[in-house]
């Protein structure tokens, strides 16, 4: 039932799309009809390009986003642990946060070469900040009464962090990770602009340049649906694992 409802809108959009396409009001070049896209998808799948692209992109995103999360947590810990570090890092982090990664590609190539490192760097730059800021703000928001409790229990730094600070930040961290994941997935395009020869982003860019809108649509929809799927899986996993301790992160 739940699932059914969440499929209503996609189906409605599909129908609307079909209607527009068959009405002929819109250039089929800009918006190819669903069946055209479906045919394109089938032929991309048959040629093995689609599955290969998916695999390449998935592994790229998992690597990049994994590093992103680790870095973001480490940074949040550092910044949370010391006021001086926070002040020292505030300016570089704010600058990096504001500068478009795409504008930095020449510099990134200079530093990281044209291999996969640059691609990972772009994914990291695109996705690290939601994770970092949400984690930092979550860690910062320890309840003062819990802080006092920890001192009266003479908890060591580690146990204080493990049992009080971290759990208090869990809901924020989850939000951050979900937001960040979206961006890392989106960053595929930017990352695969540079020296990639496969991947969903590459597929989209390449098809766009060759003006094959049907393949572009296949790429877009594949990116969208895989992302949606992963997001839903993540959500359900969390609910299963955490709902007893954090009833507020899942709806009843």
């Amino acid at each position: 039932m739940q699932r059914a409802k969440s499929l209503v809108m996609p189906l409605a959009i599909l129908m609307y799309w079909q209607l527009i396409a068959s009405s002929g009001l819109v250039s089929s070049y800009l918006l190819p009809a669903p069946e055209t896209v479906w045919t394109a998808a089938k032929s991309l799948y048959a040629s093995g390009i689609l599955s290969h692209s998916i695999l390449v992109s998935l592994s790229r995103v998992f690597q990049g986003f994994g590093i992103s999360c680790v870095l973001a947590f480490a940074l949040a810990l550092l910044v949370n642990g010391s006021r001086t570090v926070e002040q020292l890092l505030s300016a570089p982090l704010a600058l990096l946060r504001m500068i478009p990664p795409l504008a930095m590609t020449p510099l990134l190539i200079l530093w990281f070469g044209i291999g996969s490192t640059t691609q990972l760097a772009i994914i990291i730059l695109a996705s690290i900040f939601p994770v970092f800021l949400n984690t930092r703000d979550g860690l910062r928001r320890v309840d003062p009464s819990h802080q006092e409790l920890a001192r009266s229990l003479q908890l060591g730094r580690l146990r204080y962090f493990r049992w009080i600070v971290l759990p208090g930040a869990v809901p924020s961290i989850i939000t951050g990770v979900r937001v960040g994941f979206g961006y890392s997935w989106r960053a595929l395009i930017g990352a695969e602009l540079i020296a990639a020869s496969a991947g969903l982003g590459y597929l989209i860019i390449d098809s766009q340049e060759m003006m094959r809108t049907d393949d572009v649509m296949v790429g877009i929809l594949t990116i969208g649906m895989i992302g949606w799927l992963l997001d839903t899986l993540f959500d359900q996993l969390l609910c299963r694992k955490l709902s007893r301790r954090f009833p507020e992160i899942c709806r009843s």
């Binding site: 190539i109 200079l110 044209i114």
Partner: protein, 291 residues
């Protein structure tokens, strides 16, 4: 009513610059009571999209590859005038101390934008030396990225255009070959089939303004180059070089047809285009040299 036209300055489209800066198109269109709106939308695919959506009436400058691909994809874009055949503006550039001839490219890393005239030039150059694209390690990236990769020593050669070539040369890189003799990159002014149908008088006005700009340029060459330099933000010397490289033209001629054919077969061979198009049909009669 308004005429929407895109404003594309690079690589060094002097007629465009003069046409806009001198308000030539505006005064031509004013005779028909039509306003002119300029849009800075420069990439070939985006101009093709905007023509298809009806947001753009005239694509100021497009390369013929984009025109061919758009048509192959079912987007009827039509050529209304020539702009230039800048064979020297596109080049294969070898890294400092790296390859200096096409033969030396064998097994080397070459980076550049795929599916463009630069790509085609590379293939043609290799073929001329009895090699194929598989004899080099071709890496896909945009021109600024390829330039950065060349300068930081990540690749052996880059496919560059215009200013990037000059900058690379200043840094010690050497031009292996330009497109001259290999391909003829052609820049054209284009419109959509719908506009060509509905407003032939607009097309004529655009061509008139385009011609007026060319006339002014030939009469005031120094001033024109200076204007171009200012608009492009390059030095006068560089602007002069760009001018020389550009090989401006106002019309296409019969020699362009086989060039377009060659370009199309290149794209068909490399799976950049899926089906051939009728080249005669995408060139408006006004675009051809009256001989």
């Amino acid at each position: 009513e308004t005429l929407d036209i895109s404003y594309v300055r690079s690589p060094f489209n002097l007629q465009m610059i003069v046409m806009k800066e001198h308000g030539l198109l505006e005064s031509e269109m004013a005779k028909q009571n039509v306003d002119v709106k300029w849009h800075e939308i420069t990439s070939g695919s985006q101009q093709a999209q905007a023509l298809a959506s009806g947001d753009l009436d005239i694509a100021g400058v497009m390369n013929t590859a984009s025109v061919l691909m758009a048509n192959a994809a079912g987007n009827p874009v039509q050529i209304l005038a020539g702009v230039s055949r800048p064979t020297d503006t596109f080049a294969i550039v070898g890294a400092k101390g790296g390859p200096s001839t096409v033969a030396e490219l064998k097994g080397k890393k070459v980076a550049g934008p795929k599916g463009t005239v630069l790509h085609q030039t590379l293939v043609a150059a290799l073929v001329k030396e009895g090699m194929t694209i598989n004899d080099v390690e071709f890496i896909q990236m945009g021109i600024p990225q390829a330039f950065a990769a060349l300068q930081s020593g990540q690749i052996d050669a880059a496919l560059l255009a215009a200013g990037a070539i000059m900058n690379a040369q200043r840094e010690g890189a050497q031009t292996i070959t330009t497109a001259t003799g290999l391909t003829v990159p052609t820049l054209v002014m284009a419109t959509s089939e719908g506009v060509a149908h509905k407003h032939p008088e607009w097309i004529d006005a655009v061509i008139r303004a385009h011609d007026m700009a060319a006339r002014w340029i030939s009469e005031n060459k120094e001033q024109a180059i200076e204007l171009g330099a200012r608009q492009q933000g390059v030095s006068l010397a560089d602007a002069n070089t760009l001018y020389d490289w550009a090989h401006f033209t106002q019309r296409l001629d019969q020699s362009d047809i086989p060039n377009l054919q060659a370009e199309m077969s290149f794209m068909l061979d490399n799976d950049l285009m899926r089906k051939p198009v009728n080249i005669e049909a995408i060139i408006l009669p006004q675009a051809m040299q009256a001989n």
